[in-house]
């Protein structure tokens, strides 16, 4: 059940480039968190802005520490990056429909781009069988949590658009390779990253007669399913063949087969 909790900042430090790692003491939310869920954060000190900001829960531990990995992109994340140890911010969470964990006999294959790596870390950690992480970004500096995934241990394969590290290709090309290589095995696919990447991933899975769970992100307002700001098209049994589903409530995790591709 989601709650409202004052998260106390324990650490707020640079991870790499414009990515930062935020650790908050929020035991109530930690206890309830499932992989793939998010918190809706009111950034203290953000003036004249009224909305909360959604962030994936990257990790939680039994001491009540919740980890978020965030990229500084605008006014809110800029102010967040200046918040010091000991200060607090209001959190709503855990919110959203989580990933379902892979079974013992299934190999999880995670495809992630950008902060999508953060959103799938807890999934990888909690998976009983260790799997493969396909991580993509524009260049090396945007590949985050590579060591953390390797340490789980997950087999890590990387792709960058500029070829600064890993294969010079799109992360979805790595996905196609894996599907060919491991076709005899029982695979479970998960994805989180930019919209274009996820749509491409969904189509590849469907073309190969497979399914997977994709975590979509969208502009959010209430974060709890009340305002209909955050909708995406999903297949529906009506004359149009689709309906708008709320990413914050029915998602952020959707089955690739349920998404309506335009």
């Amino acid at each position: 059940m989601p709650i409202q909790e004052q998260g106390k900042i324990i650490r707020n430090a640079e991870l790499q480039d414009s990515y930062r790692k935020l650790e908050l003491y929020a035991p109530g939310i930690c206890a309830e968190t499932k992989a793939g869920q998010f918190v809706h954060m009111q950034i203290s000190g953000l003036r004249d802005r009224i909305l909360r900001r959604p962030f994936s829960i990257s990790d939680v531990n039994k001491d009540g520490v919740l980890t978020i990995i965030y990229k500084v992109v605008g006014a809110g994340t800029e102010v967040l990056s200046t918040q010091e140890e000991g200060s607090t911010c209001s959190l709503l969470g855990p919110l959203g429909t989580p990933f379902s964990l892979p079974g013992k006999d299934e190999i999880p294959v995670i495809v992630a781009g950008g902060y999508g790596a953060a959103a799938t870390y807890l999934l990888a950690k909690r998976a009983e069988s260790k799997g493969v992480m396909l991580l993509g970004a524009r260049s090396e500096k945007d590949l985050i949590l590579t060591k953390e995934f390797s340490d789980i241990p997950f087999e890590l394969r990387t792709a960058t658009e500029d070829g600064s590290t890993g294969d010079k290709c799109l992360v979805t090309d790595l996905l196609e390779t894996i599907i060919r290589e491991k076709s005899a095995k029982k695979l479970r696919f998960y994805g989180c990253g930019p919209h274009g990447m996820l749509m491409a991933m969904g189509k590849i899975l469907i073309e190969n007669g497979l399914d997977g769970e994709l975590s979509l992100d969208h502009l959010m307002c209430c974060g709890v399913g009340a305002c209909f700001a955050c909708v995406v098209k999903v297949k529906a049994d009506n004359e149009d063949g689709w309906r708008y589903a709320r990413t914050c409530k029915e998602g952020p995790v959707f089955n690739a087969s349920s998404i309506y591709y335009e």
Binding site: D48, C221, C222, A226, C227, V231, Y244
Partner: protein, 309 residues
């Protein structure tokens, strides 16, 4: 003893703080956070005849001290609303007033929706007629900005139901008193205002409007002074009760609306930042009354101190 119950003519509320339509879903979405019984009333998202998709995305944009929205009234339609577990069946179990906000693309659709709700009115306290949504294009008629059409909608709905009627006015008119009088004469029991004010925002990098629909309704603290002025004008023009809303975030904001003449208030956009805002406002009103030694809301409703020359 402080009494914060409020009499709105045909119905009473245990306290004067309601949720604004469209900002609190159908109640259930917030039930995990606090007991909904604490609210004076739950006003649900606008209901029309058939399920509707609403507008394309992006549907919202954050702006200075407020937000723009063009949700476009996505909703389940009246039949699903009456019978699906997530909507009316859930709300019937909540011990507080339930107000159903309705809209239509034609006068006849408003009447049909009102009639269906009237036929299964158990658990419904009142209807709020939304003649003021800026985000629906179809029909091309703005009911809320045309005196004759506004009256026709209200009198049509009046004939379709015996439920108490609240009419929600548009701020897009030059004379609020004219509209307040027109809908009163057409049979509304209560007036509520304001709905959002049409606005726009542009992303200067992509040069695209930040809202797919180009225009979106402005809400939040940015509109509060306009809303307060309009509530003052409406309350001065008619004797029926007025429900005030528009940017209310704190108890102080709410008290300003009472002083301007509102008998009850609704909290909207503030809920997105803080789901507990309505409850904090109720507490703050009680504290103010205690401090001022007021025993009931009538002690200060409409009592703005204006020197008459």
């Amino acid at each position: 003893m402080i009494d914060i119950s409020v009499d709105l003519g045909k119905f009473k509320l245990k306290n004067p703080v309601m949720t604004a339509s469209g900002t609190f879903g159908y109640g259930k979405e917030y039930a995990d956070f606090f007991p909904l019984e604490k609210l004076g009333a739950i006003v649900v998202k606008g209901i029309c005849e058939k399920p509707s998709h609403g507008n394309p995305t992006p549907r919202i944009a954050e702006v200075t001290s407020g937000m723009l929205n063009a949700i476009g009234l996505q909703g389940p339609g009246v039949e699903k609303f009456l019978h699906d577990e997530d909507y009316m069946p859930f709300l019937k179990k909540v011990n507080t007033a339930v107000i159903v906000n309705i809209w239509g693309k034609t006068v006849e659709e408003y009447e049909r929706v009102a009639k269906r709700l009237d036929e299964e009115k158990e658990g419904i306290t009142a209807l709020e007629i939304n003649i003021s949504c800026p985000n629906i294009k179809e029909g091309g008629i703005a009911f809320g900005t045309d005196l004759k059409l506004a009256s026709r909608v209200v009198s049509g709905v009046r004939k379709a139901t015996t439920l108490p009627l609240i009419t929600k006015l548009s701020p897009n008119v030059s004379s609020i008193p004219d509209f307040a009088k027109a809908v009163r004469d057409a049979g509304t029991d209560v007036i509520s205002l304001i709905n959002t004010i049409p606005g726009m925002a542009i992303d200067i990098e992509t040069r695209k409007p930040k809202i797919a629909n180009i225009r979106g309704g402005l809400s939040g603290p940015a509109i509060k002074p306009i809303a307060l002025r309009m509530v003052y004008e409406a309350a001065g023009a008619v004797d029926i009760p007025v429900i005030g809303m528009g940017g209310i975030t704190t108890a102080e904001d709410a008290i300003e609306f009472f002083l301007a003449g509102a008998s009850a208030i609704a909290v909207g956009t503030a809920i997105f930042a803080d789901p507990f805002a309505p409850l904090n406002i109720i507490d703050g009103i009680k504290k103010y009354m205690k401090r001022k030694s007021y025993s009931c809301l009538m002690d200060f409703i409409g009592k703005v101190n204006i020197d008459k020359k």
